[in-house]
C-alpha cells in the first residue's frame, strides 16, 4: 500500500461543523446521505464490479466502525454497558434502532437487528441485501469491544421485504 496516500481517513476530516455551518447546522436530509452512498455504489460497481463494490463498502464500514468506536464510545469490557451505550448513540445520531437478539461471546455468536436503518429502511424491494456498509461497521464495533475479529452477514433486509435488518456476527477463530 502506498504510504503517502491522498485520502487516508482521519477523524479530523469530518471537520469543525459548528464553525463551518453556523446557519445550516449539523443535520441534512437523509436523502442526501443516500444519494451520496448510492451514487458511489453505482460508479464503483461500474469500475470494479458488484462483488468488489460490496467488499469496498464492507471495508469502508469497518473503517468507520473502528473510528466510531474510538471517538464515540466509552471503552468497556461489559457487554451490557457496550450495547446500552451503542443503542443510545445510534439512536441519538439517527443511525438506527439497535436490538440484540442473541449474544454469546463465548461461542462468538451475536445476532442483532437494526430497525429504521439509515442505509436501507424505506428502500424499494430489490431482492438482495444491501447493507454491506453496516456489516463492516458492526464487525469493527464488535472487534473493538471484544478484541475478536468478527465476520458479519446481513440475513434479512428491508430491501428483501423485511421490516428490520438482521445481522449475524460470528467470531473468526
Amino acid at each position: 500500500m502506498n504510504s503517502d496516500r491522498k485520502y487516508k481517513f482521519s477523524w479530523s476530516l469530518l471537520g469543525d461543523i459548528e464553525a463551518g455551518r453556523p446557519n445550516l447546522g449539523n443535520t441534512t436530509r437523509l436523502e442526501v446521505y443516500r444519494l451520496l452512498q448510492f451514487a458511489f455504489r453505482d460508479v464503483i460497481e461500474q469500475h470494479v464490479g458488484t462483488e468488489e463494490t460490496d467488499k469496498i463498502f464492507y471495508e469502508s464500514g469497518a473503517l468507520a466502525g473502528k473510528e466510531f468506536y474510538e471517538h464515540m464510545l466509552t471503552p468497556t469490557t461489559d457487554l451490557n454497558e457496550f450495547v446500552r451505550e451503542l443503542q443510545e448513540v445510534l439512536k441519538e445520531l439517527g443511525i438506527g434502532i439497535l436490538r440484540v437478539e442473541k449474544a454469546d461471546l463465548e461461542k462468538g455468536e451475536i445476532t442483532v437487528t437494526v430497525s429504521e436503518d439509515l442505509d436501507c429502511s424505506g428502500l424499494p424491494e430489490l431482492d438482495y441485501e444491501i447493507c454491506s456498509y453496516d456489516e463492516g461497521f458492526i464487525s469493527s464495533l464488535l472487534e473493538c469491544f471484544s478484541g475478536m475479529k468478527f465476520i458479519v452477514k446481513e440475513v434479512d433486509c428491508w430491501c428483501t421485504g423485511d421490516r428490520t435488518c438482521r445481522f449475524e456476527a460470528k467470531a473468526v477463530v
Binding site: T160, G161, D162, T164
Partner: protein
C-alpha cells in the same frame, strides 16, 4: 362454458380450497398435483406454507425458527421475531442485574415491562440497603463480640492472678461452676478439688447458713427487680483449709440475672481476712481491757455501769477495791514490783468473781467490780472472800504482798447507781483508814 373454461373453474375451486385449508385447517393440506406448475401457484403455496409454519413455531415458543421467505408478510413476522428475541435478551440482561433495559416497541407491554424493571431495581436497591445494614450490624456485632472476648480475657487474667478467690455458683446454690486458681492459696485446694467438693464441706455449718441466707436475699432482690440497684451482699464466714485450719473469709456476693430478672447464677469474691479479724479482735480487746492486768478498763466499766443503770438486773452491787501502799512499793522496790502487786490484785479478783461479773481496773491502784443481781449481803460475802483470797495469795507469793482496802454498796434501782458507787468508794476509804490504823504499811 367451454371445456377449458370448465377446467379453469375446477382448478380455481381446488386452489381456493387448498389455500383456505392452509389458512384454517389444523392439518397441512398438500399442494394439489393438478396445480403444480400452474401460474406461480407453487411459489404462492410455498410462501404461505412458510408463513404458516413460522407462525406456528413462534406460537409454540420456538423463536429460533429461521424464516426463509421474503416479502412483506414474512418480513412482518421476522420483525415480530426480532422483537421477541430482543425482549428475551433484555430479560436475560435484567436477570443478570442490568436494570437499565427498557422496552419501547411493544405498546402496553412496554409500559408494564419497564415498570416491572423499575420495581425490580427499586427492590434490589432496598435489598442492597438492607444487606448493607445487615453487614454493618454484623460488623458491629463482631466488634462487640471481640470487645466481649477481650473483656472476658481481661477478666480471666485478673481472676487468675489476684489473691482473692473469684467463683460462680449455680442457682441451685449447691454447685460451684467456676473457682479461680487462687483457691490454692486460700484453702490449699486445687481448682478441680474445690469444684468437686460438696458445698457443706467448704465451710462451717454456721457459715453455710450465713451464705445461704445471703444468697436468698439476692434472690429476693432479683424477684423484686432490685438487683441493678442493690448493693452486693457482704458476709463473713469461716472455712476449713486442706490442712485443717479454720480461716475467716469475707465474701462479696452478687446475683447474675437474665433479661427477665431471673437468677442465672451467683458470682462471689472470697478474701482471707483471718489476720484482719485477729487484729480487729486485739484492737477491740485493747479498747476495753487494761493492758497490764487483762481486766476491763475504765471506759468499759463506765459503759457497763450505764447499761446496768438502764437494765433490769437489780439489785446491783458495786465493790471498790484500792491497793494499799502501791506508791511505796513503786518508790522503794521499783515499778516492776508495783506492777506485780497490781497483777496480784487482779488475779485475786478474778479468783473471786463470776465470769459475767465486771471486774475492772479503773485507776492506777483502783479496781471496781460491778455485780448484777447481787444484794448487799452477797456483796459483803464477796468482800470477805476477797480478803480471804488476799491472805491465801500473799501466803503463796511472798513480798511484796497485796493489800487491798474494800468498800461495797448495793443499788436497788438504776437511779441509785451513781450514789451507790460513791458510797462504795467512801466505804473503801473508811476501810483504808481503819486498816492504816490497825496495821500501817511497812516495807
Amino acid at each position: 362454458m367451454t371445456k377449458a373454461a370448465e377446467n379453469n373453474v375446477d382448478l380455481f375451486d381446488v386452489a381456493v380450497k387448498n389455500l383456505h385449508d392452509l389458512l384454517t385447517a389444523q392439518g397441512v393440506s398438500a399442494e394439489p398435483p393438478e396445480l403444480i406448475g400452474v401460474g406461480g401457484y407453487s411459489e404462492l403455496y410455498a410462501s404461505l406454507l412458510e408463513v404458516r409454519t413460522a407462525i406456528m413455531a413462534f406460537a409454540s415458543g420456538n423463536l429460533n425458527y429461521k424464516v426463509t421467505a421474503k416479502g412483506y408478510m414474512p418480513g412482518a413476522i421476522k420483525a415480530l421475531q426480532a422483537s421477541l428475541n430482543h425482549l428475551t435478551w433484555q430479560t436475560k440482561m435484567v436477570s443478570s442485574g442490568d436494570f437499565t433495559q427498557r422496552v419501547d416497541f411493544m405498546g402496553d407491554f412496554s409500559e408494564s415491562f419497564n415498570m416491572m424493571v423499575k420495581q425490580l431495581e427499586k427492590s434490589r436497591n432496598e435489598l442492597e440497603g438492607m444487606n448493607r445494614q445487615l453487614l454493618e450490624n454484623n460488623i458491629k456485632l463482631q466488634q462487640q463480640a471481640d470487645a466481649i472476648r477481650e473483656s472476658e480475657e481481661r477478666l480471666r487474667h485478673i481472676a487468675e492472678n489476684v489473691s482473692d478467690v473469684i467463683w460462680t455458683l449455680d442457682r441451685s446454690m449447691e454447685h460451684f461452676t467456676y473457682i479461680s486458681p487462687s483457691i490454692a492459696g486460700l484453702r490449699g485446694l486445687s481448682v478441680a478439688e474445690a469444684l468437686q467438693e460438696p458445698i457443706e464441706q467448704a465451710m462451717t455449718p454456721e457459715s453455710l447458713a450465713t451464705l445461704r441466707k445471703a444468697l436468698s436475699n439476692e434472690i429476693v432482690n432479683a424477684q423484686n427487680h432490685h438487683v441493678a440497684d442493690s448493693q452486693p451482699e457482704v458476709i463473713e464466714i469461716e472455712q476449713v483449709c486442706q490442712d485443717g485450719r479454720v480461716i475467716n473469709v469475707e465474701v462479696v456476693i452478687s446475683a447474675i440475672t437474665d433479661s427477665d430478672g431471673k437468677i442465672k447464677e451467683f458470682v462471689g469474691v472470697s478474701r482471707d481476712i483471718t489476720v484482719r479479724k485477729k487484729t480487729e479482735g486485739l484492737l477491740k480487746f485493747q479498747s476495753t481491757h487494761d493492758s497490764l492486768t487483762g481486766l476491763y478498763n475504765r471506759a468499759f466499766f463506765d459503759a457497763e455501769l450505764e447499761l446496768a443503770a438502764r437494765g433490769r438486773q437489780f439489785p446491783v452491787s458495786i465493790i471498790v477495791a484500792d491497793l494499799d501502799g502501791l506508791k511505796q512499793v513503786n518508790d522503794t522496790l521499783g515499778h516492776g514490783a508495783g506492777d506485780q502487786v497490781i497483777k496480784g490484785a487482779a488475779t485475786i479478783l478474778q479468783m473471786v468473781f463470776r465470769g459475767n461479773d465486771i471486774v475492772a481496773r479503773t485507776g492506777g491502784d483502783e479496781f471496781v467490780v460491778l455485780l448484777r443481781e447481787m444484794d448487799y449481803e452477797e456483796a459483803v460475802i464477796a468482800i470477805e472472800r476477797i480478803r480471804s483470797c488476799v491472805e491465801i495469795y500473799n501466803a503463796n507469793n511472798g513480798e511484796p504482798s497485796v493489800r487491798i482496802s474494800l468498800g461495797g454498796a448495793t443499788a436497788a434501782t438504776g437511779e441509785k447507781i451513781p450514789e451507790t458507787l460513791k458510797k462504795a468508794d467512801e466505804l473503801m476509804y473508811a476501810d483504808k483508814i481503819l486498816r492504816k490504823q490497825q496495821a500501817p504499811v511497812t516495807l
